[in-house]
């Protein structure tokens, strides 16, 4: 099976503070990996490093995506290559209409992938279809990006963007945070809908709850900036029962 993502001995810091301490992770095509871990273990940092957020500095190690050096690419190129980060806290962008944002994103990515840009009617049809799958109201898309959206709406909007950009690797950073059980189901269904042999997921979460709905192939436990244990779905249940303390000591 070919490796989609290969992270080796990754060390990283933010504002001079070491967060990742030799993290290894490899994700195969078509697999769902869950990363679980306590607050401050570096889960979100990992997602930002992968997406290329400024001021997140890699001091050692490498990240290969589709065999290429991911860290050498600017964030927009990473997105075009097929990396997608669903933000834990999606940004509100007053003044920028949702549809303009979505269309600019879709066509930017298509252009970089050597595909034709979508015409307005084709784009609208696509958005309407994907939005209705995610139970996103058309009225919501008439507003500025994420402005006035509830927590659940913001997360659904992230999944909509994911569906539109057709990524190869989706990194979900605590997508379950701030969601009630109904919203969680909608989001999970949206993600499951996107699962395919060609698409992989890294699902970052505190709780096992999300993994009842998005069933992972592999579960990793992260503590103090690295992966300390890897197992199957049963590992998530074990964590839920025992807590993270034992793993933190092991790290």
């Amino acid at each position: 099976m070919s490796k989609l993502l290969e992270v080796k001995n990754l060390h990283a810091e933010v504002g001079g503070k070491k967060i990742l301490n030799g993290l290894d992770l490899s994700v195969e095509e078509g697999k769902v990996h869950a990363i679980m871990g306590p607050n401050g273990s570096g889960k979100s940092t990992l997602s930002y490093i992968l997406a290329g957020k400024p001021r997140y500095e890699v001091t050692e190690g490498s990240v290969k995506f589709l065999g290429q050096d991911l860290l050498a690419l600017p964030p927009d190129e990473r997105a075009a290559k097929g990396l997608f980060l669903a933000f834990q806290y999606p940004m509100e962008i007053p003044g920028v209409a949702s549809m303009i944002f979505l269309r600019t994103a879709v066509n930017s990515v298509r252009k970089k992938r050597g595909e034709a840009e979508l015409s307005t009617p084709d784009f609208l049809r696509l958005v309407r279809e994907k939005a209705s799958d995610l139970k996103i109201d058309q009225e919501m898309l008439k507003r500025a990006v994420n402005v006035g959206f509830s927590g659940g709406e913001k997360k659904r909007n992230e999944i909509l963007q994911m569906a539109l950009l057709e990524p190869k690797l989706c990194v979900l950073d605590e997508t379950d945070s701030g969601l009630d059980i109904d919203a969680l189901k909608v989001v999970a269904e949206g993600v499951n809908e996107l699962r395919s042999k060609k698409r992989s997921f890294v699902v970052i979460t505190h709780y096992q709850r999300l993994l009842n709905h998005i069933v992972p192939d592999v579960v990793h436990v992260m503590a103090k900036g690295k992966i300390v244990k890897t197992g199957g779905p049963e590992l998530a249940k074990e964590l839920e029962a025992k807590g993270y303390a034992a793993f933190e000591q092991a790290a």
Binding site: P54, D76, R78, M91, V96, T104, A105, V109
Partner: protein, 442 residues
């Protein structure tokens, strides 16, 4: 011993003084107008060009910025009139065009033949020659403190437009005062306008300024505006002068009870420009909005200075000024809200925000509140900052290239005041101009 103070005159001041002297007996209009002109000329020659030690001009040192005074422009020739005919900064907006070329009213380009009922328009030069009664109202409105730019304009007062909108007249079409400069050598022009909007009238006026690139021409413009009780008046202004121009403009407005007034200045042209606005709330229950945008690049310098004078109770005013400053440009906003004794229940809010697109741009914001009434709500906020890196990252993470992401963010930032323009067509043109500006940014 008395020391005789002999001020040192800059070449520009000397040239202006000579020009004022030479124009004295040539300009049209006698009696009060002549007196007004002479007094203004005298005041200007005495005080000279304002500099940084004059508080109102602290950030726009005109004495340093205005090195030379260009000679008075000659009346427009055929070629200039041809150019002006084709010039239309508001395509698709159906408006009554009044065209001034080099400060001279051009009848053949202006649509005076079939005016809407209740609307009177007279070219100023003609009105002065004929002793039209409306000219008696020129000079009625004055700023709080002596203003050199206005004095200069008054000293050369000769042509422009007089507009009278009768009581109860609701104009169907906007009036567009087109100020067009033509010529390849530096020249200066002076235009003056007076607008009297009657009781319960309704009007939209567009003012635009444009001229050749890379010619150091100088534009002076002043407008006196009387908005009577219950009237509704929108003034939209596009300053898109050529890149080397000097532009000095003044608006003096007096607003009556229960009137609604909106002012939308868009500044994107000229090397050096200043727009000075005085709004007097002379009646009760006035609702006024000042919402403008400034887009600067290169070494452009633009100053918007505003005084809102709440003289009577129950006035509401909202000021929102946004500027995007690129290159080594400098944007100045000075806004003062006065609330006088007895202007109770005034509700005034002023916000000015500058988006700095480079480390070398400069933004000077000076908000002031002067309040003499005790039952009022007044507030102001001023910010200057760069594009939010976190917002930008969100765009990048969705595959949108940096330049495009910045363009969308800048557009959304400066669009806010422009979205408030009530006239749909004019609003569309202004928003499109922002897009053009961003496209030119590369």
């Amino acid at each position: 011993m008395n020391a005789e103070i002999r001020p040192i005159r800059t070449p520009a001041e000397q040239a202006l003084a000579a020009s004022i002297e030479a124009a004295r007996d040539r300009l049209p209009g006698a009696g009060e107008i002549k007196k007004l002109r002479e007094a203004a000329g005298k005041a200007f020659v005495e005080s000279g060009l304002p500099h940084r030690r004059v508080e109102e001009w602290k950030y726009t040192d005109l004495r340093a910025l205005m090195r030379d005074a260009a000679p008075l422009a000659s009346p427009p020739d055929k070629k200039a009139i041809e150019q002006a005919k084709k010039h239309n900064p508001f395509p698709g907006v159906e408006a009554l065009r009044l065209v001034l070329v080099n400060g001279v009213f051009v009848s053949e380009l202006s649509e005076l033949a079939s005016l809407e009922k209740g609307l009177t328009i007279v070219p100023l030069a003609k009105a002065l020659a004929e002793g039209n009664k409306l000219t008696q109202r020129i000079g009625e409105l004055q700023p709080d403190t002596y203003d050199a730019a206005l004095s200069l304009n008054t000293a050369f007062l000769n042509d422009g437009v007089l507009i009278e909108i009768a009581d109860g007249t609701k104009l169907a079409k906007p009036i567009h005062i087109v100020n067009f400069h033509s010529g390849s050598t530096p020249a200066s022009t002076y235009a003056r306008s007076l607008i009297v909007a009657g009781e319960d009238s309704q009007a939209t006026v567009i003012e635009s300024f444009a001229g050749p690139e890379k010619v150091a021409y100088q534009t002076s413009s002043a407008m006196e505006l009387h908005v009577a009780d219950k009237a509704s008046f929108d003034l939209i202004r596009l300053q898109a002068e050529g890149s080397a121009a000097l532009h000095l403009s003044t608006l003096l407005a007096k607003i009556g009870s229960d009137a609604k007034f909106a002012l939308h200045p868009v500044t994107q042209g000229a090397a050096v420009s200043r727009y000075s606005v005085t709004l007097r709330f002379a009646g009760k229950n006035i609702e006024a909005r000042f919402a403008g945008a400034t887009l600067l690049r290169g070494k452009q310098h633009a100053d918007t200075t505003m005084v809102i004078d709440h003289m009577m109770p129950h006035g509401t005013s909202r000021e929102l000024m946004k500027s995007a400053l690129d290159g080594e440009s400098r944007g100045v906003f000075q806004g003062r809200i006065n609330v006088r004794h007895g202007a109770q229940k005034t509700d005034a809010r002023m916000a000015t925000h500058a988006l700095m697109l480079t480390d070398t741009a400069e933004s000077d914001n000076k908000p002031e509140l002067e309040i003499f009434a005790d039952d009022v709500q007044c507030g102001h906020g001023a910010t200057s900052g760069a594009i939010d890196e976190n917002l930008l990252f969100y765009f990048l993470a969705r595959g949108i290239p940096r330049k495009e992401a910045e363009a969308l963010l800048i557009q959304s930032f400066v669009a806010e005041p422009l979205e408030m323009i009530a006239h749909e067509g004019v609003r569309g043109v202004m928003l499109a101009r922002v897009e053009d500006w961003l496209r030119a940014r590369g």
